[in-house]
Symmetry: C2
Subunit: 140 residues, 2 copies
């Protein structure tokens, strides 16, 4: 079976550099849900060398801080599973105390039905990710 993360739909790309990209989570209950996808088909973080891992996580944390700035969520959730699609990708999810599963993970027991929040502007998110990454490279 072809790996669905080896081919990213260009229309979905929110941000990218030469090593990874950011795409929407596409869950109507979670407009603040994004995925950071590694370019190469690799299954575990410890398959990457330390520098590649650090870059990948810098992007994950830039998405986190951008979502905090743009959506002011109650919590950020981060996860890398890959049990179904073993191609490295991080889930970055802005969580709200009144969202569908809070305080459970979004893969847990539903707690309530809630109206959909507004997604952040993808252009604003991309700009903020680039800004945050520039800050990190200055500080390290």
């Amino acid at each position: 079976m072809e790996c669905p993360l080896c081919v990213i739909n260009r229309n979905e790309l929110i941000w990218q550099d030469e090593r990874c990209c950011v795409i929407p989570g596409n869950d109507p209950d979670y407009p603040g849900y994004f995925r950071v996808v590694w370019g190469e088909h690799v299954s575990e973080m410890s398959d990457l060398d330390a520098r590649a891992r650090r870059h990948f996580m810098d992007v994950v944390f830039a998405v986190e801080s951008s979502l905090r700035a743009l959506m002011v969520p109650d919590k950020i959730n981060l996860a890398s599973f890959g049990n179904k699609v073993p191609h490295l990708h991080w889930h970055v999810i802005a969580r709200f105390a009144d969202d569908r599963h809070f305080p459970e993970s979004i893969w847990g027991q539903e707690q309530r039905q809630v109206p959909t929040r507004k997604a952040p502007s993808y252009a604003a998110l991309a700009a903020r990710i680039s800004f945050d990454l520039a800050q990190i490279s200055v500080s390290c």
Copy 2:
């Protein structure tokens, strides 16, 4: 309410340095489940500076690679939620294709009942984590 991760039971400590520690996940279905807990009471990764974040993730990935070496799992799962206990901690879980929830996350729908695997030796895990961290500091 007192934060349960601000006070770690010394008997549970598998590995520690001056900034974080590794404790068991204490889930009988998941003997390869460990938590990496940040020392200070901080709720989001983006509340840490870039250097602290990188150190924290280096430890998370050292636990990952140690579990891969000691247990040879089918997949590693990593997650940081903190919806219930907003004190930074990472879940590092060795997953097996025949475990209780695979391919779902361990917070998802149960798939089967399975006998418990053997946990790795905590002394071997601690030694391997220290070894892996030393490798990373040499390579960066």
